[in-house]
Each structure stands twice: as structure tokens, then as C-alpha cells.
């Protein structure tokens, strides 16, 4: 199965409902992985999500970006389940940009992928899409055979009437099915009838991603295409004053050199026949920068400011009881301050995209995560209607949030370069790893100050949590005016599930000048750490077991927390004696409507430790594909662990000090623990899995380290605290 590069273009619902003939417009990329699509004219497409052709291929249009999280497989599984298709006949294509047909209902009237919402927001929609197509195929068969529809069964792509021993493949029925009126209401399956959901069907992209044929934006090539390499400013906010490109222009293969400016970034671009030629030429360009408005602060200075702010009351994000009064009456008070650095997403595929500016339209090839925003941004830059910006979907080599850029930064850069160059051929913008790392849009720096009050019996009676940092949503400025409290700054803290009679969460929102963005699990990347580490500190201070302590603070209304916590305790053997050379740490956190609990198991090795295993329990509602849920838990653990161990972007005098995997180290094979994943059985609607495992590993690991060494971890990454694991 393959991610083909054919696209539906701007199909109105009416056209789609009619099963319109001109459903697809082919364009040509290197001809690999294109679906067999012999008979487009006779296609049957009862809605915008499923299309069946006479060759018996079921094509599912995925409105969400496949960036590794397995969403193509998950979305197709839902459709195929209700359609009763055979998994082997199912193909997936990225849907085009169309906010009417393909909006993310969790985002409102916009198309985009994020917040671990893809399956959750598609669940009802795609069940209905599959069931509708099935109903029409059944009606078509009933009419053809002159039998009652309710005597017809469908299984694995075959429509059958047992009594008359007649059967037909889907492909044989599409011509008749396409002529039928689309029913408004269709019956959905009872979960007991599921044959694909809950099974570990093989991913639709597994084969192509093992043989090099999966198509990423980086792989898009066109005859005559130019590749742009760029010179970026040394500091955020610096602008090109002048540049000398005489040497660059003289290089064979260089077509032109232009300055560009977007709302995000100013720079110089070399357009050449290939990347290496463009890059070498770009390195020869001398640029003089206007740094009048350049950002010139340092991480150390930002942290110092935040530490002071954390001593002052902030704006209230949650308030119950009277914490200050409770502290006065407390027999004992504990305090801790936690610090978190900027983090880069550092996807494997350095950011890149291909654009072609035509007379009245613009085409973009990209692993598209934020269609509606990107269409609008590009349309604004070019003075086009948004619908004239056509987005062609490709696989993304990771994202972790980065490709849903609120300013469409790299896309606008490519468009600005193509526009400045005045070319109508496709232009591929390719950033180097260093440019990708230094381009900003980081997980922000945060400082948290926590204070707990205990009564004379050691009961937790008061909890105050102050958070200081930039507002991701406020700076994104996409969803109306900035809110007094950016919920993504406090999520996980303001939603603390533990029953504490006096509880306050406060926020200081800062303005810094470093572009920030959502990073896999957003606010939870820092709130899970401070809350779960501080909770363990209280448990240690009062001599309580971390599992029993959490349990005692969770009421029955947090049954999913209790289920995940109990499951991880049971499967890890938390209540049993540990192996002599092991120390374990526990953490529990809800994000994106899923609850994850993890036990990090450290093994002593000489003077140090190795994280040899993580036991993970998750309640994510109904697991569409349990194997993919497990993959996402493993992935989240690895991504979160990478940040916990060594992840830090630091600035000195406004310059980002890291650039590549040598100075921004990421997790490698020898550092990856074994991971055991257990899913809480559930028939509830599915919830997120792409992000929720990410924030839990750092506190689980830090709690194990604190238990082992007696020294709590108050700042990440561990490497900056002199802590390395074997």
C-alpha cells in the first residue's frame, strides 16, 4: 500500500456526493508508489473520505498528516471496519486542503493535525463514511439481484446473498452504487462485531518505509526544479542590510541569488540546479545584517528573570480553598523550584518544501500539518484567494508539532524566495540541520515554583504552583485575542487530579523575543515533571509509598487515573520487592484526554545507573490499533527521555549555541530502555496517543534517581546537572 501523490482538488460536497467523474487530477512525481487507478471515471465516492474504483481498490482520504504517528492506518481502519472492506484492498491518500470537507472538528473550522486529536475527531465521521458506502453497496446489490437488502451480508470486501448464492466484489458494484441517493442515517456496528478495530493490522506505510519508496517532501523532484539554499540571520529579528553574492553568482549551476523577507525571517537565498551547488554558493555570500531590533538576551539571563518572577504572585489559573491561610496553619512546608530549557523539535527530516508560483495560483508540496493556516498565510503574501493555494500532501519525516507552524514560517520563506526570484518553475527550499535547529519556534523556557503545606499528621493540605514563561497560544495569535491565561501554559498543573483542599495555580506570562511553539505534549512537557516530582518529594518527606500516596489523593471521579495507575503497578510488580540492584520511579499524568502511568526501572551499574526498562500503562479509550498505541507509547517515552537526558537549546547574546546532533544530542539505540506497554481495556471513544506518553518519562526517571541518590532533580536536562546514565 502506498501514499500516492495523486490528489483530489477542491471537490465540493455536491460533486463528491454525486460521485463526480472528475474526482482526481493527476500530477506527476517520480512514478513510484502511485496507486493503480485505471477507472477514475467510474469511481464511487459517496463522501469525501472514501472512494471505490472498479479495480476493487478502496481509497481512504486522510485529512490528517502522517508524520509517524500511524494516523493513515488508524483512519483507514475506521473506514474499512464499517465498510467491511478487506484490509488488503485499502489504500490511503492524503486529502487536499479544504477546510469545509476536511476540518479538524477539535480545532473548529480549520484543517490541521495536532493535539493528538486525529483519531478522536475522526471517529464518528469516518465510521459514518464507511457505513454509508457499505449501505450503498448493499442497496446496489439488492437491486441488481432483486433480493431484500437485509438478507445481504458484507465481509472482507465481498457482498453476498447466501440464499441465492450470489456475490460480488465491491469493485463490481461501484457503477450502480454511484447512482444511488446517499442515505442520511446509517447504522453503525456494535463494537462486538468489530473485525479490524482492536486488531494489530499492519501499517499501510510499513512496506514503503522499509524499501526507500515512501515519498517525503525532500524527495520531490520536477524537471527544471530549482533548489534554494539560504543564509539565515545570526539572531532573531536581524534583517539583511546588504550582501555580496559575486562569488556565489559565478558558481556553475547557480541561477540567481535573492534577498527575501517574511513576517518571520529575513535572509538571502541561492537558487541552483541542486542542493550542494546552492549550499556551497550560499556559504560564499557575505551578508551585512541590520541588528537594530535583533534579540540579544541569553538563556541564563531569562532564567534569572523568571526565578524572580516566580517569587511573586501570578495571575490565577485555578484557586480552591485558601492556600496562603493553609500555609500559615501548616505544621510543615516544602518548597521546590524547577527549571526547563528551550527545546528544538529536531525532526529527522530538516524542514523543506516545494513551491511553484503560477499566474493566478500557487502549488505547494509539503508534509502539511496546518492546511488552513498555511493556505491563508501564502494567499496573503501573494494576494491570492486561499483556495488558489493548492497543497499537495506528502509524508512528513517527523514534526512533533513543528510543521504546524503558527506563522507558516518555512512555507512563507519558500514562497518569498520563489517570488523574489521571479521564477515559475518549482522551487525546493532545503534547510541544513543547523538552520533547522536555529530557526526558533522552540518549546519555551519555564520556571515553576511549588509550595506544599502538610498538617501535623503529614496530610497534604495546601499546594501552590507558580509557572513563569512565554505564551505559545498568545504568540501564535491564531485563535482570537490572547487570553489572560494561556491554558497550554498551565495544562497539567491547572488540571491536577489530586484532591487537595487548598490549591492555587498561578501564571506569569512573559515576553521574550524567541519564537516559541507547541512541542510534543505542549504544556505537559513541563507541568508533568514539576507536579509528579514534587508529589514524590512530599511522599519521601512523609515516608509514604509513591503509588499508595497518589492513590490516596485520587477520588473515584478520576477512575481512569486510578485504572492506569493500578495497571502499571500490577504489571511492574510495584508492591513486590525490587531486584537488589534496581531502583524504580513512578509518574502519572493526563494529557490530550488520555492517562498514562509509567514505572522507570533503573539498574545500578558501578557508580551509575542504566534505565533498563519502562513499564507503561495507558487509558486511551478504545484502542483502534493496539500495536500502534504501543508504538506511540514507545515513541513518546523515547522522545521525552531524549529531552530529559540531554535536550537543551541555549542562547548567548541572542545566538543559539546548538546546531547539529553533536551539540544537541538526541537519544540513541544504546540509551533506549525496553518498554512494556499495557492498555486499559475500554469501550469509550478513542482519545489521543501521539503525545501523552512523552511527558511522563522524565518525572518517572527523576523520581527513580531521587530515590536512588536522595537528590531530587530540579532542572532539565539531566546532563546539565552532571547526571548521565550508562
Amino acid at each position: 500500500m502506498s501514499n500516492t501523490t495523486e490528489q483530489v482538488v477542491e471537490v465540493s460536497r455536491r460533486d463528491v456526493l454525486k460521485g463526480g467523474a472528475a474526482l482526481t487530477v493527476a500530477f506527476f512525481l517520480p512514478a513510484r508508489g502511485r496507486a493503480t487507478d485505471g477507472n477514475a471515471d467510474a469511481a464511487f465516492a459517496p463522501n469525501a473520505f472514501v472512494r471505490i474504483t472498479p479495480d476493487d481498490v478502496v481509497t481512504v482520504y486522510a485529512k490528517h498528516l502522517e508524520m509517524g504517528q500511524g494516523v493513515y492506518t488508524g483512519l483507514a481502519t475506521i473506514v474499512a471496519e464499517e465498510l467491511d472492506a478487506d484490509w488488503s484492498q485499502v489504500r490511503v491518500e492524503g486529502a487536499p486542503a479544504n477546510a469545509k470537507l476536511y476540518n479538524n472538528s477539535a480545532f473548529g473550522p480549520m484543517q490541521g493535525t495536532g493535539g493528538s486529536t486525529s483519531i478522536a475527531n475522526s471517529w464518528d465521521q469516518l465510521r459514518k463514511a464507511g457505513a454509508t458506502a457499505r449501505a450503498l453497496l448493499v442497496t446496489a446489490a439488492a437491486q441488481r439481484w432483486g433480493v431484500p437488502a437485509d438478507e445481504i451480508t458484507v465481509s472482507r470486501g465481498k457482498v453476498e446473498h447466501a440464499a441465492s448464492k450470489r456475490s460480488a466484489r465491491f469493485g463490481e458494484l461501484v457503477a450502480e452504487a454511484a447512482k444511488l441517493p446517499v442515505p442520511k442515517d446509517v447504522k453503525l456496528k456494535d463494537p462486538s462485531q468489530f473485525t479490524l478495530i482492536g486488531k494489530d493490522t499492519i501499517r499501510v506505510d510499513a512496506r514503503d518505509k522499509a524499501n526507500g519508496t515512501a515519498m517525503f517532501t525532500q524527495d520531490v523532484r520536477f524537471p527544471g526544479m530549482l533548489t534554494a539554499a539560504v543564509v539565515h540571520p545570526p539572531r532573531f529579528g536581524a534583517k539583511v542590510k546588504s550582501f555580496d553574492a559575486a562569488k556565489a553568482r559565478a558558481v556553475k549551476g547557480v541561477k540567481t541569488v535573492v534577498a527575501f523577507e517574511t513576517p518571520v525571517r529575513s535572509g538571502v537565498a541561492v537558487l541552483a540546479t541542486d542542493f550542494w551547488t546552492a549550499k556551497k554558493a550560499a556559504e560564499s555570500i557575505a551578508v551585512e545584517w541590520d541588528e537594530t531590533n535583533a534579540f540579544r538576551r541569553s538563556s541564563a539571563d531569562i532564567l534569572a528573570e523568571y526565578r524572580e518572577l516566580a517569587k511573586q504572585p501570578g495571575r490565577s489559573a485555578r484557586s480552591e480553598g485558601d492556600v496562603e491561610q493553609a500555609f500559615k496553619s501548616a505544621a510543615r512546608v516544602l518548597e521546590a523550584v524547577y527549571e526547563f530549557p528551550y527545546l528544538a523539535h529536531a525532526s529527522m527530516e530538516p524542514l523543506n518544501c516545494v513551491v511553484r508560483i503560477g499566474a493566478r495560483e500557487c502549488e505547494v508540496w509539503n508534509g502539511e500539518q496546518f492546511q488552513t493556516v498555511d493556505q491563508a498565510s501564502i494567499a496573503r503574501l501573494l494576494g491570492l484567494p486561499p483556495s488558489n493555494v493548492r497543497l499537495h500532501q506528502l509524508y512528513a519525516g517527523g514534526s512533533f508539532g513543528r510543521r504546524a507552524n503558527p506563522k507558516s514560517d518555512y512555507l512563507l520563506e519558500a514562497v518569498a524566495i520563489a517570488k523574489a526570484a521571479g521564477v515559475d518553475v518549482p522551487v525546493k527550499l532545503v534547510w541544513t540541520r543547523e538552520q533547522d535547529t536555529r530557526a526558533g519556534f522552540y518549546r519555551p523556557i519555564y520556571v515553576h515554583a511549588l509550595k506544599a503545606g502538610l498538617d501535623k499528621d503529614g496530610n497534604l493540605i495546601a499546594w501552590r504552583h507558580r509557572i513563569v514563561g512565554q505564551s505559545i497560544m498568545g504568540e501564535a495569535a491564531l485563535f482570537g485575542p490572547p487570553q489572560a491565561i494561556d491554558t497550554t501554559s498551565v495544562e497539567g498543573a491547572s488540571t491536577l487530579p489530586y484532591s487537595i483542599p487548598n490549591l492555587a495555580v498561578e501564571l506569569h506570562t512573559t515576553k521574550v523575543g524567541v519564537p516559541v511553539q507547541w512541542w510534543r505534549s505542549v504544556g505537559s512537557t513541563h507541568t508533568a515533571f514539576s507536579t509528579e516530582c514534587f508529589l514524590d518529594e512530599i511522599a519521601r518527606a512523609t515516608g509514604r509509598d509513591p503509588y499508595e500516596f497518589r492513590r490516596s489523593l485520587l477520588s473515584s471521579k478520576h477512575s481512569r487515573h486510578l485504572a492506569a495507575l493500578d495497571l502499571v503497578a500490577e504489571k511492574s510488580g510495584w508492591k513486590n520487592a525490587r531486584p537488589k540492584d534496581e531502583v524504580w520511579g513512578l509518574a502519572l499524568h493526563e494529557s490530550f484526554n488520555s492517562v498514562v502511568a509509567q514505572v522507570a526501572q533503573l539498574k545500578r551499574l558501578g557508580d551509575g545507573f542504566k534505565l533498563h526498562k519502562v513499564v507503561c500503562a495507558v487509558d486511551c479509550g478504545l484502542a483502534i490499533n493496539p500495536n500502534i498505541v504501543a508504538m506511540q507509547m514507545e515513541s513518546g517515552i523515547g522522545y521525552g527521555l531524549s529531552a530529559a537526558l540531554t535536550g537543551a537549546i541555549t542562547l548567548r547574546d541572542g545566538v543559539v549555541e546548538q546546531g547539529n546532533f553533536d551539540d544537541y544530542p538526541v537519544l540513541r539505540m544504546n540509551q533506549m530502555p525496553a518498554v512494556d506497554v499495557y492498555i486499559v481495556p475500554s469501550q469509550a471513544n478513542p482519545t489521543g496517543v501521539g503525545e501523552p506518553a512523552t511527558p511522563v518519562i522524565a518525572p518517572a526517571l527523576a523520581n527513580a534517581l531521587a530515590t536512588a541518590t536522595g537528590k531530587p532533580v530540579y532542572a532539565l536536562p539531566l546532563s546539565a546537572q552532571g547526571i548521565t546514565l550508562a
Binding site: 524527495d219 541542486d274 525532526s347 529527522m348
Partner: protein
Amino acid sequence: MITLDINGKTFETDADPDTPLLWVLRDHLGLTGTKYGCGKALCGACTVHLNGQPVRSCVMPVSAAANAKITTIEAVGESAVGKAVQDAWAAESVAQCGYCQSGQIMSATALLMTNKSPTDEDIDAAMSGNVCRCATYVRIRAAIKRAANALS
């Protein structure tokens, strides 16, 4: 002109001799299965085989690859070991975003060509130069062991 032997076929390229093999493969010859990740031999996404040895094509000048037998992801499956590795990759559901997996598979195949039953330590040593940001490492390890079993 530099003559290259890639996947059993002969190619001529007029690229500058200092152009990394990676960019000749990708931009000049259209063999885009080999990926650019870091440009400094730090991530392994660009791994190809040069006379059977895994090399980072992003730092190897194309001139150094002349007269050598180059194998890329596009043809690694033609060998029994490469095919077993690719099959194991699918069976273990290794790939997530998939961008690094060409390089992972080239490194894993090179390992199994010289070591029929690698230990965990062997796998760590052979594979720690290949970065995966989706952290598919647990499954890469399992897939290498599965491929080793299939070949034994």
C-alpha cells in the same frame, strides 16, 4: 566525469569531485531513498554500502566512491540479508515517520552480513550511529533479531 557503480549499474556524473555521494545519489541520479539528516555523519540517515561496508554518504566525496561497489536502499533487498531485514522491519512494525529507516536498514544489513547472531551489545555498537527521533529503537532491535533468526 566520475563513473559510479551503484546497485550493479554504471552511472556517470559531472558533479564536482567534492560533492558528497549523498547529493549525487539524490539530486543527480534521483535515488532519493537515501536521506539527508545532518550532513556531518552524526545521524546515519544517509548510510549506504561501499563494497559492503556501511558508510555515511553525506560526508563522502563522490570522487572517493569511484571504482567501488555502491549499494543503496533501492537495491539492498536484492540480497538475502537485505530482504530478510526489510521483511523483519515490516513484521515488527518498525517504521513510524520512516525518514531514518533507509539508513537504519543499511546499517542493520551491514551488521548481519558480518555477524549472523548479534548480541544486544553488538546491536548497540552497530546501530548507535543511526538516530531515530521517533525512537523506534525497541523495534529495530527486535527486527534485527528476527532477521537473524530468519537467516539462520
